[in-house]
Symmetry: C2
Subunit: 122 residues, 2 copies
DNA sequence: TTAGCCACTAACAAAAATGTAAGTCATGCG
DNA sequence: CGCATGACTTACATTTTTGTTAGTGGCTAA
């Protein structure tokens, strides 16, 4: 649990309030969130165990944590089927899907930057 | 200094290698980098002390650190004038300027998301 | 001579993010 | 009964990021 009055936390809050860009980063900026989002963009519905298959290095703890954050931010939806053993599927919400264009641009620019840096001097 | 063989570091590296989006996030994803980048987009040339004026809460340590990272990633350029007291100006490189469109999109989407989340249920 | 300026840096401390290992739950099957 | 299943928690350890405080250097104006 996070302290709500450390300088650190106050600073972060202030930034998020005024800067849309920082706010966006806070939503998609966990270590594995890009991977999770990619899986959902490509697969429509993804089960917990499938995430673990396509992102083998992720730990249960962080996977669950990231999923809950994305859900709290209304980017993904959690659908539970009352079966045993349990089945849970995740999918993008409309809001989640609305960021696809942006994410693609980030991917493209990232690739571009990586290329550009590889060879040049300035 | 970072350990280069902790699980943590290895995971991060693996992600950056294969995912352009995560790579992009790693370049612009420090707490104050959005603010720094904004200042540069709006002002062309910015001095160290000016950063501190427009981002009052930032600490010297982090400001210098972020600037050095952005420079190492070829997004900004550091120009030193041999005067006393010293004068140093920072500006975006071409590569840095090439991300403006993307940053604007992130800002726009962030604002959109914030609005969308404010009122709705799903 | 001392104080002030600017752009930092170093040593240390705190907070936040991530990772590890082990357990939980309800049920159906042998 | 006892074990397997799938989707998680929980307690704890480690790593990474950020913040705090106190400096540095060379010059110049008081």
């Amino acid at each position: 649990m996070r302290k709500h009055n450390s300088t650190n936390a106050l600073n972060e809050q202030a930034i998020l309030d005024q800067c849309g860009m920082a706010y966006t980063l806070s939503l998609i900026g966990g270590r594995w969130k890009p991977s999770i989002l990619w899986a959902l963009i490509r697969n429509d519905k993804v089960r917990y165990s499938h995430f673990k298959k396509v992102i083998p290095e992720i730990s249960d703890r962080i996977l669950a944590l990231h999923l809950r954050e994305l859900e709290a931010d209304k980017l993904i939806r959690r659908v539970v089927y009352a079966e045993v053993p349990p089945r849970v599927e995740y999918e993008l919400t409309d809001l989640g899907r609305s960021m696809e264009v942006m994410l693609e641009q980030m991917t493209t620019w990232g690739a571009f930057h990586k290329e550009a840096v590889k060879g040049s001097a300035t």
